[in-house]
Each structure stands twice: as structure tokens, then as C-alpha cells.
């Protein structure tokens, strides 16, 4: 049986402290929770059981196999059920003219959900004729002539074409650049950064060498991903996600993703947003240089937090300007935990400011997302917490390992964080791959920081 077929890990909650003498540590009550978790892990190993604990919740253990019979009384197994059973969250991809599909790959067959104009002008810059021919061969599998018009042009050695012309989008077919060609990579990164207009990169870089390997059997996945990205980067919305009525909140929300990048000058944090409401989806990276936060730690320092609150306020005003109302749900996502004081500042300063015009229904949700190496079964999930805080372990279909979702909320439903994750995962316009675990807007913000780091434009 393959990895995908059989869940390997069970999730247990430590409910009583065992005598830890067997692990060489006495007096567990004197230890902090992380030391206890480490000691319990050692204890389990002494029984031949491999385990790991959740960094945010060291009382929760992922155990390969079962807890030994003698330690059974100290643990409670968390129920693992299918994601749909937990959340009743099912979704459908909607395209133009009421076309729908179970997957984002429907973009191969259906026109995009929304385009601000037809006949988008796309400059197609190619390094070699072979790349151009292959690209045409792949793209000709679909009829996108109504929406996209390609204008091919050969790419010069110094890549100067990347910096001129203002087409809706530029597509570059370029061979893989080895790391030792630093100057060329930097040029590409500068072009990428320059291409951001209205918070979306208008430059699609395609690795020509990878593209040449695409054959008749694999072109569909490649082309669907490419099409979705092309539409999105041209200013279209490739698809809409329709969900059950109980998740209407998700469609009237402001999602703010914070990405983190370690640089030579410490940690930088960038922001990207997704605004939804009235059937509209606006995904943007905040490219304002003054909105790049810097600090020594991965979490926000006091000054950074203050600035972050101001950034959120600015974006909420922008949401109101674009959609006419303030969103009833604000979700902040990052790949680091939210410390107590960060949560307090967000709730104390930002939430009060924004909640006033919305009223009782206003929900603030913060989520931290982590990858794990625990396989609890495809399409399965488990959960511990309440509507104010808790942790979800979710493993969508065709994903090898569960993701850990730690959340805090002003309260609505325990299902909301899991649904918000699944919704955003579905709403990823630049990756349709089934096995993806990262989500926009964090992913969009991270990509921007990555290019910025290569270009060293801090």
C-alpha cells in the first residue's frame, strides 16, 4: 500500500502527566510544556513508538501507530473524520456562463469567470524558436483567441525587452538559468518587480527547458496551470468558488496574508490581500515599499505591530472604496504563530476600530499555517479547540501530509478556520495542483518577497 492509501499517524492529546522517570526526567510538573512534550516523546520512543508534538500545542502528539497499552490512560485519541464530515464544506469552481467544474482544471474547457476586457494583448518573448514552437503547440490545445492575443518577439541576450512595452501581460520563454549566472537572475528579478501593476505581476516567466519535456499525456495539467496564471496576471479572475450557504461569510471577507523572508538585514515581512464581496475577487500584493516590515524576529515587534495595524486599516478603507461596504470577516494568515500580545494588539486596536460599523456580526480570525510530516489520511481532519482558539489538522485529498492550522478568533464557529483554509486553497489562481498546501494571499506575498530578495531591493 502506498503512502496515500494508509494513514500512518493518530493524533493524541496528553490528558494526564505520566511519571517520566523512564525517560530520565523526574518531576514533570516542574517542567514547562515544551520540556514535558520532549520528555513524553522520549518516553514513547522508549516503548518503540515514534511520535512528534505540535509546536503550537505541545499537548498534542502525532503518533505512528498506537499509544502503548501501559500509557493509554494518559492520552485521549482525537477523532479523525473526513473533512466534509467535520465542516460540510464542499465547493464548486464556477466559470463564465454558468459553466462549473469540480476542479480548477475546468479552465481548459470554460471561459474565465470574469475579464475586464476581451482580446488581452500578451507579449510573448522567446529565447529560442524551439521554445516558441513548443509553446504554440501546447497553447493550441485550447481556444483562447477570444481572450488572449499573443504578440511574439525574440528575446535579446541582455533581456532588455522585459523592461519595455506596456502590454496587459508579458510571457517569457527562457531557458533555466544556473545559479552562477547571478547577473541574469537579478535582471529577471528586477523585471519581475517592475512588472507589478495594481498588485499583480504582469510578467509570467516560463522555464523553456521544463516546457520542452511536456508530452501529450501531461500537457493538460501544465496548460491548465498556465492558463489560470495567464488569465489572473492579465487582470482576469479565472474562476469563482461557490460554497454552501452557511459559508457565505467567506465570500464577503478581507484576507490578509503575511509572508516572511530572512535576508541579510534581518527578517522582512510582506503583505498580500484578497478582497471578496458582491461576486468580486481582488487579489493583490502590497508593493508599497513603506509597507515592508522589518525586524529581528519572525514575529512582529512592537513597532512592526503598530505599523501592521495601520496597514490593515488602510486596506480596509480600500476594501470599502472598492466594494462599498466594510467586510464582515477579516482573516489574517501567516506561517508563524501569533503571540498573545500580537493577538491582543490586533483585537484591541484594529478590531475595535473596524467592528463599529459592522456590528455584532464582525469576525476577526487569525490563522497560522504549518506543514507537517504526519499522514492522517487523505481527505481527513481532526480538531481540538473551541470557537475562540484551537488547532486543526487537515489533509485534503491527494495531499501526502496534514497541514496544521492554529487559530484564534473573536468567535463564530469552530469550522470557520478549516473552511477559510479550504476556500483560499481552492482560490489559488497560480497553482491548481491537487497536492498544494500553501494558500494565497500568503503565497503571493512570499513570491513577491522572494523576487525582491533576489534583486536585493530592500
Amino acid at each position: 500500500m502506498g503512502l496515500r492509501d494508509s494513514p500512518e499517524h493518530r493524533i493524541y492529546k496528553l490528558i494526564r502527566l505520566p511519571g517520566l522517570s523512564e525517560s530520565g526526567m523526574m518531576g514533570a510538573r516542574d517542567l514547562n510544556k515544551y520540556e514535558v512534550a520532549k520528555a513524553v516523546k522520549r518516553l514513547l520512543r522508549s516503548y518503540g513508538v515514534e511520535s512528534g508534538y505540535l509546536s503550537e500545542r505541545p499537548d498534542l502528539f502525532a503518533i505512528k501507530g498506537k499509544v502503548p497499552e501501559t500509557l493509554k490512560d494518559y492520552f485521549k485519541e482525537l477523532p479523525v473524520k473526513s473533512i466534509s464530515e467535520w465542516t460540510e464544506f464542499e465547493y464548486m469552481y464556477k466559470y463564465n456562463n454558468e459553466n462549473k467544474d469540480k476542479y480548477g482544471y475546468g479552465i481548459l474547457r470554460h471561459p474565465p469567470y470574469k475579464c475586464h476586457k476581451n482580446n488581452l494583448q500578451v507579449k510573448l518573448l522567446y529565447e529560442t524558436d524551439q521554445f516558441l514552437e513548443k509553446f504554440i503547440e501546447i497553447i493550441n490545445h485550447v481556444d483562447i483567441g477570444k481572450y488572449i492575443e499573443f504578440v511574439p518577439q525574440k528575446l535579446s541576450e541582455n533581456l532588455s525587452e522585459l523592461f519595455i512595452s506596456r502590454h496587459d501581460l508579458k510571457v517569457v520563454l527562457i531557458s533555466h538559468i544556473p545559479e552562477n549566472q547571478r547577473e541574469r537572475v537579478e535582471t529577471l528579478a528586477r523585471a519581475k518587480l517592475m512588472s507589478y501593476r495594481e498588485g499583480v505581476s504582469r510578467l509570467q516567466i516560463i522555464d523553456g527547458d521544463t516546457m520542452l519535456k511536456i508530452n501529450k499525456n501531461s500537457y493538460e495539467y501544465y496548460l491548465a496551470n498556465l492558463l489560470s496564471a495567464l488569465y489572473f496576471k492579465s487582470g482576469c479572475v479565472p474562476f469563482y468558488i461557490q460554497t454552501p450557504e452557511k459559508y457565505d461569510f467567506l465570500h464577503n471577507a478581507f484576507y490578509i496574508g503575511v509572508a516572511l523572508k530572512k535576508t541579510s538585514k534581518g527578517y522582512v515581512k510582506g503583505v498580500a490581500t484578497i478582497m471578496t464581496g458582491l461576486g468580486e475577487i481582488i487579489a493583490q500584493v502590497d508593493t508599497d515599499q513603506h509597507h515592508i516590515l522589518r525586524g529581528d524576529a519572525m514575529e512582529f515587534g512592537e513597532a512592526e505591530m503598530k505599523k501592521f495595524v495601520e496597514i490593515i486599516k488602510e486596506h480596509i478603507e480600500s476594501y470599502k472604496h472598492k466594494l462599498g461596504v466594510k467586510p464582515p470577516l477579516v482573516v489574517v494568515i501567516r506561517t508563524r504563530r501569533f503571540k498573545d500580545d500580537e493577538w491582543k494588539v490586533l483585537k484591541g486596536s484594529f478590531y475595535r476600530f473596524w467592528r463599529r460599523p459592522i456590528g455584532e456580526d464582525a469576525i476577526l480570525l487569525v490563522m497560522s499555517l504549518y506543514k507537517t510530516k504526519w499522514n492522517i489520511g487523505e481527505g481527513m481532519a481532526t480538531f481540538d479547540g473551541d470557537d475562540k482558539h484551537g488547532v486543526w489538522l487537515l489533509q485534503p485529498q491527494k495531499v501526502n501530509y496534514a497541514v496544521q492550522l492554529v487559530y484564534r478568533s473573536t468567535g463564530y464557529s469552530t469550522r470557520l478556520p478549516a473552511a477559510a483554509y479550504l476556500y483560499l486553497r481552492a482560490l489559488d489562481f497560480v497553482s491548481l495542483t491537487h497536492s498544494r498546501t500553501g494558500i494565497p494571499p500568503v503565497k503571493y506575498a512570499y513570491n513577491y518577497l522572494r523576487w525582491r530578495n533576489i534583486a536585493e531591493q530592500w
Binding site: K94, N96, N97, E98, Y113, K114, V237, Y240, Q242, T243, E245, Y247, D248, F249, L250, H251, N252, G277, L278, G279, E280, L323, G324, P328, L329, D361
Partner: protein
């Protein structure tokens, strides 16, 4: 002679005045009908005075034909076009009144899979819920206006139909039957006119 001329002049003026008055009455009547229809669309008011303009048999036939059309969209799992038709069924039932309207109101929640209690809840809806809510409760005019401007074509087209800014979406491929065309022509369901009240 002078007296005769002045009498005929007076008669001429009076007849002209009468003509203008008649035109004014017609104009006001027309506006009133349109205003009524506008309010009916927006708030779901029934229109007992309007059904007299149409014979009930035509309305009943139209309703039945729409009902068949709805089944077709339902079987094709084309939810938006189905809702567009349901909205028209609602309009026609309101024009007809009586037992048809009672039956329609009873069935409507089942048809759109939403109970009447939904109307009481404060909604931040996604497009499909907004459309259903509007049909069921005539609630969310502002959201529909926003959707008509901002949503993708399919939702926006249906939102425009519901607020009276356009006809059935072309991509639904709906061809109205003669009786429904008659209803539309008689009550002047020229959507662009209606939106002006």
C-alpha cells in the same frame, strides 16, 4: 357670425384640452403601471390591478411553460438559468394572483431550497444566496446592484435581470413561448424602462 366662430374656437380649445388631458391620464396610467411593476420586482408586492390588463389564462399558460423550462434547467443542473426562470415565474404568479400565486408561494421555498426564515437573518451573501434571497424575500436590492456592476458575467447578468436592467442572459438560450411573450409585451416588461420606475 363672430359668436359662431368664438363657439367653435372654444369647442376646438376644449377638445384640444380634452385630448391633452386624455394623453396625460394615459401617461400617468402608464407610469403608474411601471411604478407598480418596479415596486413589485423590488418588494414582491402583488399586483391585483394589473392582471386585468391580461387575461388569466395567458398568465396561467405562461406560468406552466416557465415551469417546464425550469425543469429543463434543473435537469441540466444549470442553477443560474433556473433561478432566472423562477424569478419570472414569481413575476407572472404575482400578476395572476389568486390560487396560482398561493400555490407558487407555497412551492417557492422548496424550489430554491431556502426556507422563509432565511429572510429574517442578516445576510452577507455569496452571489447565489443573494439571488435566492431576492427571489424569496425581495431582500438585498443593494447587493444585487453591486453584483450587477462587479461580479463575473454569469452572476452579473442574472442580477441585472432581477433588478430590471436587462432581459434573460443570452447564454441561457431562453426562447419565451407566445403566451409569455404576450405577457412581457402587455405589461411592458422592457427592463430598461422598468428600472427607471
Amino acid at each position: 357670425m363672430v359668436e359662431k366662430t368664438s363657439t367653435s374656437l372654444i369647442i376646438l380649445i376644449l377638445s384640444k384640452l380634452l385630448l391633452y388631458f386624455n394623453e396625460l391620464i394615459q401617461y400617468l396610467k402608464d407610469k403608474l403601471i411601471r411604478l407598480n411593476l418596479y415596486l413589485a420586482r423590488k418588494y414582491g408586492w402583488s399586483l391585483p390591478e394589473l392582471w386585468r390588463l391580461l387575461d388569466r389564462r395567458t398568465l396561467s399558460e405562461c406560468y406552466q411553460e416557465l415551469s417546464v423550462l425550469r425543469d429543463v434547467f434543473n435537469s441540466k443542473d444549470n442553477e443560474l438559468c433556473e433561478l432566472a426562470v423562477v424569478y419570472w415565474m414569481d413575476l407572472v404568479a404575482n400578476l395572476h394572483g389568486g390560487s396560482l400565486l398561493r400555490r407558487h408561494r407555497l412551492e417557492l421555498p422548496k424550489i430554491i431550497e431556502m426556507d422563509k426564515e432565511s429572510c429574517q437573518r442578516k445576510h452577507f451573501c455569496q452571489p447565489i444566496t443573494c439571488i435566492k434571497l431576492f427571489i424569496l424575500c425581495r431582500k438585498g436590492w443593494k447587493q444585487l446592484k453591486g453584483m450587477a456592476e462587479r461580479a463575473g458575467d454569469s452572476y452579473a447578468d442574472v442580477a441585472r435581470l432581477l433588478i430590471g436592467e436587462s432581459d434573460f442572459p443570452k447564454w441561457c438560450g431562453i426562447e419565451l413561448s407566445p403566451s409569455c411573450q404576450k405577457v412581457r409585451a402587455t405589461v411592458g416588461l422592457k427592463h430598461s424602462d422598468l428600472s427607471n420606475g
